[in-house]
Symmetry: C2
């Protein structure tokens, strides 16, 4: 059986919960509390020297890190990762966009806002993160406004799963989504997918 | 013919120059100077609303952004992107590592160090970037020290190309590589690949 080392409140880990539920894949889930240093223990670092969740462990002990690489690995051969060369390239484009231009702004703003003290110095980063996060959200809104139901092609892919993970809880980071009607409609479409599961809280 | 909109001194664009040279792919290169706002013009934003180089344009006008997505698209069917499901997953793992844990530290430190004024306030970010960049370099060193010639499998892949792009010029950002013998040996191995081209300067 597959094992995932993950943390319920992490959007990067939630991506895998969404995928597993949609694909009806059985998996052992080992909760790792990074807030309490559990991703920095020698045991965890032997699995992922980068000290991050999620990590996928195959039955034979092979290890894969990076949420979006795990999404692609598990979705291979399903409709969630198109076979077509161009469509697949676009899925990867959005996955890299998510990890470079979206998550480091929107997820980090959420982390600071939800988990750090009111007087923590990192709160000073929030205005810049919120500005850059809104640029990512506006780009997504604009992409969807061209009559697209999903980010690539006509049905959901791992690009939608990856982008949903931190967009649906962007308000935790101080982002008001009411100005993004296409994004709100897309969030509702993802929530209505067969096998959708909400994020653990 | 393929067109790439890129900037010669950008490591993300250099990845594509390396790939094109190794695959002997012909390509039209359009130089875009992001330092002079050329990635923020309406014409460029129509191609990539994210305002970043590189961008690949196919002959029929289709557009692909994100350097690592372009690498995978162009390398499909070649030895630089393994067909094997697991090997490909590991390549993606390193590509996402590069864009999340490596480039935002090592490339950004280089940018600040090379291109911003001596008294620019962003120079205050350098100590934190250098510390985090060294974590990425140490992780790479450790991975290679297990007798690996390349990051995935026994021959070069797009993972090596992506990681080489900003590692080989990390000293521009204030990183001393002399403490990373495995990394230096790997840099030399990549430089000795058939079709290797140095970065434009």
């Amino acid at each position: 059986m597959l094992t995932i080392y993950g943390m319920g409140v992490s959007g990067n880990c939630y991506k895998l919960q969404m995928l597993l539920a949609q694909l009806k894949l059985a998996c052992r889930w080992v909760e790792v509390d990074s807030a309490n240093g559990e991703t920095r223990t020698p045991e965890f670092l032997a699995r992922n020297p980068n000290g991050k969740v999620p990590v996928l462990e195959l039955e034979d002990g092979r290890i894969l890190a990076e949420s979006n690489a795990i999404l692609c690995f598990l979705a291979e051969g399903t409709d969630l990762l198109p076979e077509d060369h161009w469509q697949r390239a676009l899925v990867l484009q959005w996955l890299f966009f998510e990890q470079y231009s979206h998550e480091p702004k929107i997820a980090v703003a959420r982390f600071i806002n939800l988990f750090l003290a009111e007087d923590h110095p990192r709160r000073g980063e929030l205005p810049r993160l919120v500005e850059a996060g809104h640029e990512a959200l506006a780009l997504m809104e604009n992409h969807l406004s061209a009559g697209r139901a999903f980010f690539v092609g006509d049905s959901a892919t791992v690009a939608d799963i990856a982008l949903f993970a931190y967009t649906h809880c962007a308000e935790d980071g101080g982002f008001d989504l009411s100005g993004y009607p296409e994004l709100l409609a897309w969030l509702a479409r993802v929530r209505s997918l067969s096998g959708f599961v909400p994020m653990k809280s």
